[in-house]
């Protein structure tokens, strides 16, 4: 499964979910597949997807669709605290999808630890409910199963190395992302400072 195929599946499954997406090729490819206001692209801040998704999951109405984080193996390994912190704080509505291609795909394809370190087991040890997939159908099925889980859920998706070709860079002012994502949260899920 190529990354862009996995992202195509996820775009089709997350129309009503807040989606936090890791930087570089992953954000670009998702935006090329489907660019929506519910996508919070982290254009830099490598490693922060799980933290931001956890903070969002703790802050939105628990009855809203799960907050979905889309993370890469290199990025997760830059801030692996995401796993014990998510397990400890245990938001009921958090689903982290890890797209593992075994390399730092946007920075020369140097290898990550993931060939020797099982990131799914790491998540499970930290208290996340996990599933594994390596095909688009498997990804769709595992995502559906994890939507029924109460508590932090972790979908390990093995993908092929390599980036989709001909994808435009995502040259957006981050503040415009904040504006549209915040407005989407407010309008679709009635999130408001008034209930603080």
């Amino acid at each position: 499964m190529k990354r862009i195929e996995a992202l195509g599946v996820l775009a089709g499954l997350t129309e009503r979910h807040p989606v936090v997406v890791t930087c570089a090729a992953t954000s670009r490819e998702l935006a090329s597949v489907r660019d929506r206001d519910n996508h919070l692209y982290l254009l830099d801040a490598m490693g922060l997807v799980g933290s931001v998704a956890t903070g969002l999951a703790l802050s939105v109405d628990p009855s809203a669709p799960k907050v979905v984080g889309i993370e890469g193996d290199g990025s997760l390994l830059m801030n692996p605290n995401v796993l014990p912190t998510g397990g400890y704080l245990a938001p009921s509505n958090l689903l982290l999808v890890l797209l593992d291609n075994g390399v730092y795909g946007s920075t020369g394809a140097l290898p990550t630890y993931s060939a020797r370190i099982d990131l799914e087991r790491l998540a499970a040890a930290a208290g996340w409910t996990t599933r594994r997939a390596d095909t688009p159908d498997g990804l769709r099925a595992a995502f559906g199963e994890l939507l029924t889980v109460t508590g932090p859920a972790f979908l390990y998706a093995r993908i092929e190395e390599g980036n989709a070709q001909g994808i435009e860079k995502l040259l957006i002012d981050p503040v415009t992302i904040t504006g549209r994502f915040t407005r989407w949260l407010r309008e679709v899920h009635a999130v408001s400072g008034a209930d603080a």
Partner: protein, 177 residues
């Protein structure tokens, strides 16, 4: 009112919805006061929780702003080295209000022989990356600390960016290290 209680009350008075903390002996009384006032015990409460590193604290609490509310981080200043990328490329770049209260190390009353290496230049480092920094010390009382922390939170909301309050506890009723 103790200085710690003043900081805790000031954080809530700013309208803070959620607090994350990274432990230090100096901020422990602040954390205890926050948790007690939020109905918790043993290091956490519904709205006050521990985090293991400053970088993730910026991500977790910065994200609160997307819901139209304010998050706050309580930490020690030597942890800003762990948090600069998150503070700049996330909260500053995405215009997210965030209140950060940090105790200072490395100054008067310090026992540690190397912590000043990171703590002493930190106000200048934070200002160099564009963060507003407000400094408190023995020269004002708990009431001023309370009002300053509260107003710093308001300032963060009004200016759509993180605001840092640095508190030196030397010669106050608190513990430096």
């Amino acid at each position: 009112m103790t200085y710690a209680q003043a900081v805790a009350d000031g954080i809530w008075a700013a309208g803070t919805a959620r607090v994350g903390y990274i432990p230090s002996v100096t901020v422990a009384p602040i954390v205890t006061a926050l948790i007690a006032s939020d109905g918790g015990a043993d290091g956490s409460s519904p709205r006050v929780t521990p985090l293991s590193r400053e970088e993730e604290a910026i991500g977790v609490l910065g994200a609160v702003a997307f819901t139209g509310r304010l998050g706050a981080v309580v930490m020690q200043d030597n942890g800003f080295g762990n948090a600069l990328t998150a503070l700049t490329t996330f909260t500053l770049s995405y215009h997210l209000p965030l209140l950060v209260f940090a105790n200072t190390r490395g100054g008067l009353g310090e026992y540690n022989s190397m912590i000043h290496s990171i703590s002493q230049p930190m106000p200048a480092v934070l200002r160099a990356v564009g963060l507003p920094v407000i400094e408190l010390d023995r020269r004002s009382g708990p009431e001023d600390w309370h009002d300053t922390v509260r107003e710093a939170g308001t300032h963060a909301v009004m200016t759509y960016r993180p605001v840092v309050v640095l508190g030196s506890f030397w010669n106050t009723d608190g513990k430096v290290a």
